[in-house]
């Protein structure tokens, strides 16, 4: 028997597998396919203060071994998420969830985090700081240590639950941003969000995405994500949720060896709707083959 349990800020997960925000809706599309209670947890779609339609379509483009999306945080807004989506999610998922929150100003983050903090089914608040700061020329909050620290402090001052800051990879020095979050009271770090990219339709001679640019995810970004988890692990001592291109139990082990305590699976859910189930079912045998009896013990193992 192998032990797949991991611990995130006092929360014990049966296994480290968490579907990533934006790729699992609020769970029910997948609850029709399999019992999603086998998951370690679930990060629901990025939620903002106001309802958002998001960007114009096309919002999806294919890339080698990956995809671009420019969905633009489509969500019904925090009030509706709490009154309609969370009860529906609670009906099919009985474990604490990861609440993914986005905002375009410090006030918006504070507003949403305060409300979501009061929801009993929320185990962790995951603060996505990859969206543009409308008060600061559209630069993302996650691109400087100062703005990342400011949002961390703001959120921490209105919440009691563990706060994980979700970092953007579109930066020169990810470790310094993670460190700034830790020093400002973050309980953990989630990374990576998508990498900015674009595609052009050579027949129409125009960008494919209506938004021109979009976020790259999928297998293509795995080595970049792994490198960033590695660097952040060296810089901080709070837990890391690693993600970016994970699509197998082997990838999960690799992420954990780099320093992740838990692992999120994003784009792979869209192509292979049973992927999280498959990974969870394969994990014990892959652990056995690698001589791993307790998954917790391999976290950051490659650094030694």
């Amino acid at each position: 028997m192998v032990d797949t349990k991991v611990c995130l800020s006092g929360l014990t997960l049966d296994n480290p597998i968490i579907p990533a925000s934006g790729t699992f809706g609020y769970g029910y599309e997948f609850a029709d396919l399999y019992d999603i209670n086998i998951l370690g947890s679930l990060s629901f779609k990025g939620t903002t203060k106001n309802p958002r339609f998001g960007n114009l379509t096309p919002r999806i483009a294919e890339t080698p071994c990956g995809m671009l999306n420019s969905v633009g945080l489509q969500n019904p807004g925090i009030e509706k998420v709490i009154s309609e989506e969370l009860p529906k999610l609670a009906a099919c998922f009985h474990k604490p969830v990861v609440a993914n929150i986005s905002g375009f100003s410090a006030e918006e983050y504070a507003y949403c985090c305060k409300l979501i903090d009061q929801q009993p089914q929320v185990g962790i608040i995951e603060v996505n700081i990859s969206c543009p700061n409308v008060h600061n020329g559209g630069m993302s909050f996650g691109t400087t240590p100062e703005s990342a620290a400011a949002i961390t402090k703001t959120v921490k001052s209105v919440t009691t639950k563990p706060v994980y800051m979700k970092l953007s990879p579109n930066v020169a020095d990810i470790a310094s941003i993670a460190k700034a979050c830790e020093e400002s009271g973050a309980d953990g770090i989630s990374l990576i969000n998508t990498l900015m990219g674009m595609r052009i339709d050579i027949k129409r001679k125009k960008p494919i995405l209506a938004n021109i640019t979009g976020g790259l995810s999928g297998n293509a970004i795995f080595p970049i994500a792994l490198r960033m988890v590695w660097q952040v692990y060296e810089a901080v001592s709070i837990p890391i949720i690693g993600m970016g291109g994970v699509s197998s139990a082997e990838d999960v082990i690799e992420m954990m060896l780099a320093g992740a305590t838990a692992v999120q699976v994003g784009a792979a859910n869209l192509i292979h709707p049973f992927i999280c189930k498959d990974i969870i079912e394969n994990l014990p045998s892959v652990m056995q083959k690698l001589g791993i009896s307790n998954l917790k013990q391999i976290i950051g193992g490659a650094h030694q």
């Binding site: 790729t23 699992f24 029709d32 096309p58 999806i60 969905v71 869209l270 709707p273």
Partner: protein
């Protein structure tokens, strides 16, 4: 929705750049004409959405046009090859709305779902009329298949090489005897828009959008309607005329 492995029974060219593929596998998740499948291809990250053209308990027929990398790969696959497919996607057409004699309007790669729909309407003892639009004569497929169902078929080509010259809306305007209760349409968006403004009866239209998942998880395919945001893949691809914002 179900995920399954399907075996290619045949894959043949039926018109210029157009192929018909017959697949064998579980069709239990197909409920209505107008639904689609999402095909995984070696060498493509995203699946390719293709409408179901015909189906029975063990087989699915699709017709697809080669327009890019994925459909080119698909066209080169041999009989006996297995494909990983998500089946039973989308809402499909509602035949209860048809009245006695609905128009089935298909343009190019939008024609395939009209075949399954025609069969279903005939089973329901209705009298559908098909209007099939192509660019040129060498693109024409399934004309005989529609006629073999015993229904009236109007053919039009944009260049006038066969049938009525012009677009499907020209055929609708210029065919004086057309008396229809409802319409179903699938094809390029410009065609759907023209139909929307030409036909005065109620109708249903099937839309396309670039998709991430095809089953409602990613919000990649959203559109605005009179009744709020809808996902083309899950709440569509078929929308009612009255909810379309044009």
């Amino acid at each position: 929705m179900t995920q399954g492995i399907y075996k290619i029974l045949s894959n043949r060219c039926v018109a210029k750049n157009t192929f018909e593929m017959v697949l064998e596998g579980d069709t239990s998740s197909l409920r209505l004409p107008g639904q689609f499948i999402n095909i995984l291809l070696d060498g493509c990250f995203l699946r390719r959405p293709i409408s179901v053209c015909d189906y029975d308990s063990f087989h699915i027929t699709i017709i697809y046009k080669v327009v890019g990398k994925g459909t080119a790969l698909l066209s080169k696959l041999n009989e006996g090859t297995s494909l990983d497919i998500l089946c039973g996607l989308g809402n499909g057409f509602d035949t209860a709305k048809s009245g006695f004699s609905p128009l089935l309007i298909g343009g190019g790669a939008g024609i395939p779902p009209m075949y399954a729909l025609a069969k279903q309407l005939l089973i329901e003892k209705k009298k559908p009329i098909a209007i099939l639009g192509f660019n040129t004569a060498d693109e024409i497929f399934y004309r005989e298949k529609f006629e073999a169902l015993g229904m009236h078929v109007l053919l039009c080509t944009a260049d006038g090489s066969i049938g009525i010259k012009g677009f499907v809306t020209d055929a609708i305007r210029n065919t004086s005897y057309l008396d229809y209760s409802f319409y179903y349409a699938c094809g390029p968006e410009a065609m759907l828009k023209a139909i929307y403004h030409t036909c005065s009866t109620d109708g249903q239209m099937s839309f396309e959008e670039r998709m991430g998942c095809g089953f409602g998880a990613c919000m990649g395919c959203s559109c605005k309607t009179k009744y709020g945001n809808k996902r083309i893949c899950k709440d569509g691809p078929v929308l009612n005329k009255e909810e379309i914002l044009w």
